[in-house]
Structures are given as C-alpha cells and as structure tokens.
C-alpha cells in the first residue's frame, strides 16, 4: 500500500474534530420498529418491577398494545404513500421505507400479534397446583425434574420473559427486510435470532428436547451468521462500502473508480461472488432451504409449539424479505451468476422437502418439512426476477404465514397425558372425536397442499405464474411434481383423521381460550378469503412490489 494513502488516512484521522453534524433520523417512518423495541424494553422493566402475580397480564397487555400500535403505524405509513410514491431510504441510508418493507412489516406484526395470543394461552394444560400454566417452563434456569423445578411449579412461576423476548425478535424481524446496508442486515439478523434461540429452550413439557433444540439452533445459527458476516466483509472489501446502493453501483460498474491504489480489490469479482454467495447462504439458512435446512425439523419439533408457529411464520417472512431486497437491489447486475445456483437450490429444496416429509411420523416434523418444501416454492418466485416475482412472493408469504400459525395452533390443542400428542398415530380418528378441529386442520392441510379455493392455491399459482413468465418453466414443472408428492402426505394426515378408527387411548382435544381460538379462526378466515377473493391482496402486493434504490 502506498505511503500517500497511509498519510491521507492518518491526516483524516488527525484532523481536529470541528463538529459532527447529528445524523438525521426519520423517527416517524421508523415508528413501527421503534414502538416494538421500546415496548420490549418496557417489558424488561415490567419483569424487573411488576409483582409476579400481575406480570403475565402486564406483559400480554404491553405486547398486544405495542404490536397493534406498530401495525397501525405501518398502515398509516402505507396510507401516507410511503409504500408507493414516497418510498425512500431513511436513517442515513440504513433502512428502506418502501412497499415491500411495509408490506412485510405489516405481515410480521400481524403474525407476531397472533403468535403472542398463542404464547398467552393458559387453558390447555391442566392447572398445576391451582395455577393456570402456559406452554413455557415455570423457571428456565431450574434443571428439568429437579426439586427447584417442582418448587417453581408449585409456586406457580411462569416465564413471562417470553413476551419481551418475542418483542425483541419481532423488532429485529421488522428491520431485517427493510435493512438497506449490510451492517444493519447483520445486526437485525442477530437481534431477531438471539431471542428465538432462547425461546426455543423454554418448553414446559419435554424440556430436554427443548434445550437440545435450542442448542442446535443456536450453534448452527451462529455458524451461519459467521458465514454471513464474512460474506459481508468480502462485499465490503469489494465495494468499499456496505450500503446496498453503493454496492449495486459498483456491481453495475456505474461508480467512478476510486483511487487506483484500490484497483486490486475494488471490483474484484472473486470477492463479490464469494461474498455474495456467503451472505445469500446465511439468508437461505434462515428460510430453511436445502442444504441449509437440517436444523428445521429438530428445532420445530423441540421448541414450544407456539414458538415453532411463530418462527415458522415470521422468520420465513423476514428472511425472504431480506433475500428479495438483496437479490433485487444489490445483486441484480449479477443475476446471470446467481440465478442458475438459485435454480438448483430451489429444485432440491422443493423435491427434498416434499420427499422426506412422506415418511415422517411426527406432526411437527411433518410441518417442518412441508415448510422446507414451501421455501422451495417461494424461491421459485424469487428467481423470477420480475415485478410479478416480488408481488407473488409477498402474497405467498402473507398467505403461508397465517396458515402455518393456524396449523401449529391446532397442534397445541391435541393433547394427552404427556402434553401435546404430536405423534401421527395418535391423531387417528380425530375427525370422529371432534369433527370441527379436524375439519379446521384439514382446511390448513389443503391450503398447504395448494388445493383450489384456499390461499395456498392462489399463492402457489401466483408464484408459478411469475416463474413461468420469468422463463423458469422447468422450475414450474418440478414445482408441480413436488406439490403432487407433497399432496400425498397432507392427504395421509386427512385420511388418518377422518377415515381410520379412533384409538381408545387416543388424545383429547383441549378446549382453548378465546386467545388460541382467535388465532385459529383468523388463520381459517385468511385462508379462505385469500383463496376465494385474493384480488384485493394481490393488488396490495402488486402495488407494494417495488423496491426503492
């Protein structure tokens, strides 16, 4: 490196600090995130100061209000035109406020709201020592089966921390798809991942499995984010900046080359390709695409079911949002390099998820694999690289997240002595025991399978249509085949529920409180509305489907 550069660097550093102009932050436009984060902090304070008796109510109140308010804020912003015309980059280029961001934030907030309902459900488990209990450990710190745990249960402790944790996670997720530079992306990633790791470990029943899930999720997640970070480093090295806009310009070669000293790194495609690939890989890990999917089944199975539902829905939304922005804003100039690779990933993800799911025996693992297959379908839309691609993915995410939440909410209802009866054999004849619950679950399964008149079909159709228009016909064909395979195991569950005789020692269906009922009802409503009359939401997604650069 030339001494002049060093000198310049030194001089810049050595300049007398005249004055730092304060960064300009558009608080109004960031309000959704800010509301949620601050609510989370309030939640922490509640933990600290509110007496244990009333914490639960306080926390639920805070989270619900905050999420509702944040959602209202999102709606307000969208109505204010930020989703379309006034969309721009806020917070000194760190966060984008535009259609996709707002749409996904809205979806995440609603999902989070519903998830909080299922978190707050405390009618399913039989009362322990006269205290209503939810699906979270009485005291996370106490060793499973130990006296301390029994004491905690007896004392009626509950882990009300889950609410602030969830809020933090949601906060991170809100930023994730809106992040407009790689640093923000990374920070947001960690902000929503870390609380999730913890939430996974907090199951009340089967705690060992829950902790194992947490460990696996944590280690693999950290591993993945390390890759992401290194990718970011390389991209930074390539472009000399982490801001999406700059990188995009450099990729397009539309930026004036900085001083020749940097020529050897600046625009060095090896850095760009490797870095880009590693960042994308980090995101693929979050969406659970093959071959980065292997954490999914274990974590979904081990985590407390409400958390699983929350993860399955919200994480996918956030991660795909970020992936879209990255591919459409930063790397479009590179599409001829990454598209074939993404093709391959999409194909193996669709087929892999569908095929492995056939032989699953645990309903939660089954749904995990189905979520993998769905990730593949969504990737097919991402690859389309046209406006329809964006809007179709947005629509699919909205449709999918609600179905998922509903499905997992139903899973929490089917219980036996050992807690939730997740083994498929126990679901035999459910349709005879409680036709309503079985019918609702059947609706969700049909939506997963993409049967017409459900949201699943509309979403699948939108995505495949976009892909076909984008020239990815083979993807569509493979997608169709794998949905046929997938149909097989969804049908298997329906057969099990309706056509096989109920077991005498089969599980009972708990009668939920209004909270879970709302979650399920909302799921059904969204599934049917988006299936029968998707026009309005498709328009919404269509208008929202433009990134600001």
């Amino acid at each position: 490196m030339s001494p002049t550069a060093v000198h310049s660097l030194w001089t810049t550093a050595a300049d007398p600090i005249s004055k730092i102009d304060a960064p300009k932050i558009e608080y109004g436009q960031l309000s959704p995130t800010l509301i949620v984060i601050s609510a989370a902090i309030v939640g922490v304070l509640v933990e600290a100061f509110v007496p244990r008796r009333s914490r639960y109510y306080a926390q639920v109140f805070v989270s619900v209000v905050a999420l509702a308010a944040a959602f209202a804020a999102v709606v307000g912003l969208a109505a204010g035109g930020y989703a379309t015309t006034k969309g721009h980059i806020a917070a000194m280029g760190a966060v984008a406020v535009d259609g996709p961001a707002l749409f996904l934030q809205g979806v995440i907030l609603l999902t989070g709201l519903v998830a909080v309902f299922t978190f707050a459900e405390r009618r399913l488990d039989p009362e322990a020592h006269g205290n209503r209990v939810d699906s979270f450990a009485a005291q996370a710190a106490s060793v499973p089966g130990s006296d301390s745990e029994r004491a905690a249960v007896k004392a009626g402790f509950t882990t009300t921390e889950v609410f602030p944790l969830a809020l933090f996670a949601i906060g991170g997720m809100l930023v994730f798809p809106a992040a407009n530079d790689l640093l923000t992306l990374f920070v947001a990633l960690e902000v929503f991942s870390l609380p999730l790791y913890l939430l996974c470990a907090l199951a009340r029943r089967k705690r060992i499995m829950s902790q194992e899930a947490a460990v696996k999720y944590f280690l693999l997640g950290a591993f993945a984010s390390a890759f992401t970070l290194f990718g970011i480093a390389l991209l930074y090295g390539y472009a000399g900046s982490v801001s999406y806009a700059t990188i995009a310009q450099v990729v397009d070669g539309s930026v004036r080359t900085v001083d020749p000293a940097l020529a050897n790194t600046m625009g060095n495609d090896a850095l760009l390709l490797i870095g880009g690939a590693m960042v994308v890989m980090g995101l693929l890990f979050k969406v659970g695409a093959v071959p980065f999917h292997m954490w999914t089944p274990d974590v979904y199975q081990g985590a407390p079911t409400p958390v699983t539902g929350f993860m399955a829905a919200a994480t996918k939304v956030a991660a795909f949002g970020a992936l879209l922005r990255l591919l459409y804003v930063v790397l479009p100039g590179l599409r001829w390099d990454w598209r074939p690779v993404m093709w391959a990933v999409a194909i193996v993800t669709m087929l892999g998820g569908a095929i492995v799911a056939i032989t699953q025996t645990d309903i939660k693992r089954l749904l995990a694999y189905s979520s993998i297959a769905h990730a593949g379908f969504i990737l097919a839309g991402v690859i389309a690289m046209n406006p329809d691609g964006i809007s179709s993915v947005l629509f699919y995410l909205a449709a999918y997240s609600f179905v998922t939440l509903g499905a997992f909410a139903v899973v929490t209802l089917v219980r036996d002595a050992g807690g939730e009866a997740t083994h498929l054999s126990k679901w035999a004849g459910l349709g005879r025991r409680s036709p309503l619950v079985a019918a609702v679950f059947a609706v969700f399964l049909l939506a997963f399978a993409g049967i017409p008149l459900t949201s699943g079909f509309a979403g699948k159709f939108a995505v495949f249509k976009a892909a076909a228009e984008g020239g990815a016909t083979p993807l569509v064909v493979i997608g169709v085949i794998s949905s046929a395979i997938a149909a097989f195991f969804y049908i298997r569950v329906i057969v099990l529920m309706f056509f096989s005789e109920p077991r005498p020692e089969g599980p009972t269906v708990a009668v939920p409180s209004p909270l879970t009922s709302t979650a399920i009802a909302l799921g059904v409503a969204v599934t049917l509305v988006l299936g029968l009359a998707p026009q309005y939401f498709l328009d919404l997604a269509g208008q929202a489907g433009v990134f600001v650069r």
């Binding site: 056509f499 005789e501 009359a533 498709l538």
Partner: protein, 523 residues
C-alpha cells in the same frame, strides 16, 4: 343485466349444502328432506336453463361475466352451449335420484357420538359436488373451470372414503383400509392429473395473457394468437392428461374400479355418471377449442388408447367377481366409446359422444342403483353370493335386466343410438378402428348377460330366498330412469336438436368436415 340463471343453478345446491351441513345432529331426516328438496329445486332451475336455451342461437348463451382476479387475468365467466346444457340437465336430473337412493346409506351405525354427524355430511357433500360440477359445465373461463375441476375432488374424496359400502366381504378394519386406499387412490390420481394441468394452465396464460375461453378461441381462430407447434402440443398434453385421468382412459383407469367398488352405490353413480363426465366434456370444450392443431396431431394415439379402453374394459368386466367392479370396468369401456367419438372428429361421432355421456349417465345410474339395492339386501358384492333372485324379487330382477340391456345398448333404449352414432362416426373416418370397436357390443352383451344369469337366474340360493322386492322409494328411483331410457331411445330428437349446433361449432374449431359418402364422392 338479466337474472343470473346459471349462477343461481350452481349457487342453490351450494347454499343447500351449507344448510344441510348445519342441520343439528338429531334432525337427521330433516337434513335428508332438505337435501332432496334443494336438489329438486335445482332440477327446476336446470329445466329453466333448458327452456331459455335456443338451439339455433349464439354458441354460448345465458352468459354472465364479472371481474374476479384481475392479477391473474381471471374473470367469472359463465355460458352454456348445447353440450353443456345437456350435461347440466343430466347432472341436475340424477342428483335427486342419487339422494333418494342413498337415503339410508349414511345413517350412523352407532348413535352415541353426538357431535359426529355423518348423515348431514353425506348429503351436504353430494350437494357440494353437484354445485361444483354444474358450475364447471358452465364455466367459460379456463381458470375458473380448473379451480372447480380440482376442488370437486375434495367432497368426492370424503364421500368415497368416509361413507363406504357397508356390504363388505372383509372385516371392518379391512373394509376401512380398502376404502381409504380407494379414496386416496382416487384423490392422488386426479390431483396429479390436475397439477400437471395446472402447469399447462399457467403456460396457457403466459402464451395467451388471459383465461377467457371465448377470447382465446376467437384469437386462435382469426390467427391473432399463434402458438408454436411445440408449445401447443405440450399445453394440449397437459390439459388432456388431467381429463384422461378423470374420464378415465386406459391406462389411467385403475382408480375407478377401486373407487366405485368401495363407495356406496349412489356415490359410485356420482363418480361415473356425473363427475367423470366433466373430463370428457372438458376434452370437447377445452382441448379441441384451445388446441385444434395439437388435437388433430394427437388424434391417432388417443383413438388407439380409446379403443384399448373399450376392449380392455369389457374383457375385464367379464373377469370380475364383484358386481360393482364389473360395472366400473363396463364404464371404462363406455368412456372409451365416448373418447373415440370425440376424437373421430365427425359430427356423428361428437354428437354421439355427447349423447353417450347423457345416456351412459342414466343407464349406469339405473344399473348401479338397482345393484346397490340388491347388495344392500344380501350384504355382499360378490356375484357368486347370488342366484335365482328373479324368483323371489321379480321387479328388482326386471329393472336390473333393463339396466343391463341399456348397458349393452340394446336398440330401442337410449344408449343404442349414442353408441351407434359413435361407431358410425368413427367408421366413416377410420373404418378399421370402427370395426374393432364394434366388437365391443358383443363383449358388452357377454358381461351383462353373465352378470344377470349368475345373479338373477338359476336355483334360488338359500341366502336370497327371503329377499324382499323393491320398496316404493326404490321404485320411485328406478322407474323414471327406465322410462327416460326408453323415451330417449325412441325419441332422442330434443337432445340432438340441442347438441348438433354445438357440435358443428366444435367441428369448425378443429377445421374438420364429415367425409363424403363414396357414391357422392364418385359423382
């Protein structure tokens, strides 16, 4: 905007389905009557459609069109041509009989489970199927049709798997297992077909930019929309595959015997007489109109497959031990005739095929329902368990015989006309195929008469000696069907008048003309 008659015809049973499902568990009979009344009201509406339809008029009549999903270029477009009207009438006509025939099929065996309401479910599902089938006959928007084509699988699936035939050879578990196997097989076959069609539907959109049958067909006709030959063929295959599974065409037929064997007789009628017709109907309406070139290209292969279906189905029918499976294979053979007629691309062939759809619906309904009554009495589906029934239950035997004679298309009964038209239509273009297909009539006689001889004649078996003859309800089901068979056999003109113009349109779509007789040709 006049009264949306077509929508009403489909909406009525849909609403009825919901209402029936909502009837409280205790009020079983009320649910039955409600369903019956709804289906009769639907029949009245169908009659109105028939009355309002002018055979000479526009190709599609009583049209309705509303915007539905702009983003997909999908409109809610309805309209009926002669073919659709005929099939719509058939559907609306058969459902009341199906309901009446299945009156006791869904009475719960154990009354303890109060929340479980099979009866309501059974009749609600039947009405749901009716609604979807009717709407799919009316839909002139490819997407709308596709949605219904797929969606109707679900109620059918529950009807097959949930309400199996109680007369089962094996134990209960075995019965349940076989039943759910049949249901799953039915669903997966048709789902796979449908999904492959989905790819083609999307492809069609990418090529054509919208889903309106009329617009696309128009554009194809005036050449403003040209498809690459390859594309057209792929799309055609995608569509045809789904319809061939539904129809069913050899070798995609194996789901039908299982489904019809395991389902109750009325549901079996629903499958083969109503739902499967959507497949053959769609071949006429979509394959030929949207992809005329590809249709002509694929004709030879399809004709051969249809021929195989005819002979193969008939031979397997001869080999069956189970009454309902026998009827199922007979139906496969008949569907072979229908497809043969459609792709013969002659006005006789296609009119014949359309008539065939209607007549086969009625005749199979008659035969299958009587078979159902027979089976419900003896509690067995095996032919070997019967014998000499005509002695103890002459009326039952008589109606059964008439149904059988209709199945072997005896002149004077409706199926004869359609079958002969199909054969003539085929013969005029493909003499050899026509001749081979004609052998089907001998085989048909074989399996029908063997069935009748083994079950109805001979010395009276001990088990059937106390068998009661047809009850009034059952007579009410069978008699009108038989009367209809005879009427349409002697005076099919009302039907042909409606169908012929539509067929002329289809013929012009595929740019085919009837071959001239040799004598005229010579002059």
């Amino acid at each position: 905007m006049s009264f949306p008659l077509l929508t009403a015809t489909a909406a009525l049973p849909a609403v009825g389905a919901v209402a029936t499902a909502a009837v409280p568990a205790a009020k079983r009979t009320a649910a039955k009557w409600l369903a019956l009344l709804v289906s009769l009201a639907t029949l009245v509406l169908a009659g109105l459609v028939l009355a309002r339809f002018e055979p000479g008029g526009d190709r599609y009549q009583l049209t309705e069109s509303h915007s539905w999903i702009k983003a997909f270029g999908v409109r809610y477009e309805l309209g009926v041509d002669g073919i659709a009207v005929a099939l719509l009438a058939l559907t609306a006509l058969l459902i009341p009989f199906v309901i009446l025939a299945g009156w006791h099929d869904a009475d719960p065996l154990e009354t303890n489970s109060s929340r479980w309401r099979p009866t309501q479910g059974f009749f609600a599902l039947i009405l749901a199927v009716e609604a979807m089938v009717i709407l799919s006959f009316e839909a002139t928007d490819v997407f709308l049709f596709y949605i219904l084509f797929e969606a109707m699988l679900i109620p059918m699936y529950f009807l097959i798997g949930g309400f199996g035939d109680r007369a089962h050879a094996g134990s209960d578990e075995k019965a349940a297992a076989q039943r759910s196997y049949a249901a799953v097989k039915f669903l997966l076959y048709n789902l796979v077909g449908g999904l492959i069609m989905l790819a083609a539907v999307i492809g069609l959109y990418v090529v054509a930019g919208n889903f309106s049958l009329q617009e696309i067909a128009q554009a194809r006709a005036d050449g403003s929309l040209s498809m690459a030959t390859g594309t057209e063929r792929w799309l055609f295959l995608g569509f045809f595959f789904a319809f061939a599974v539904k129809a069913p065409l050899w070798p995609l037929h194996t789901w039908l015997p299982n489904a019809m064997g395991e389902a109750t007789a009325p549901v079996a009628v629903l499958i083969t007489a109503v739902v499967d017709k959507v497949g053959t109907f769609a071949m006429l309406r979509f394959c030929l109109q949207l992809f005329p070139g590809a249709s002509r290209w694929a004709t030879p292969v399809i004709m051969v497959l249809a021929l195989i279906s005819i002979v193969y189905g008939a031979l397997l029918a001869v080999g069956q031990r189970d009454i309902k499976r026998l009827v199922a294979y007979a139906s496969i053979s008949h569907f072979g005739f229908i497809i043969l007629g459609i792709f013969a691309m002659t006005s006789q062939g296609q009119s014949g095929a359309t008539l065939y759809m209607v007549n086969h619906g009625i005749s199979t309904a008659a035969l299958m329902l009587v078979a159902g009554f027979l089976i419900s009495r003896r509690g067995s589906r095996l032919i070997a368990d019967y014998g000499g029934v005509q002695k103890v239950a002459p009326v039952l035997a008589g109606t059964f015989l008439v149904g059988g004679l209709a199945t072997l298309s005896l002149p004077g009964l409706a199926p004869f006309i359609s079958e002969f038209l199909v054969l003539v239509g085929t013969f005029t273009r493909y003499p050899v195929l026509g001749v081979i297909a004609t052998f089907g009539i001998v085989l048909a006689a074989l399996y029908t008469l063997v069935l009748y001889q083994r079950t109805m004649t001979g010395p009276v078996k001990a088990e059937v000696s106390a068998m009661p003859d047809l009850k009034v309800r059952e007579l009410v089901v069978v008699a009108p069907l038989i009367a209809l068979l005879i009427f349409l056999g002697v005076y099919p003109k009302p039907l042909t008048n409606i169908v012929n113009p539509a067929v002329q349109h289809t013929m012009s779509d595929v740019q085919k003309k009837d071959p001239k007789p040799a004598v005229e040709a010579a002059q």
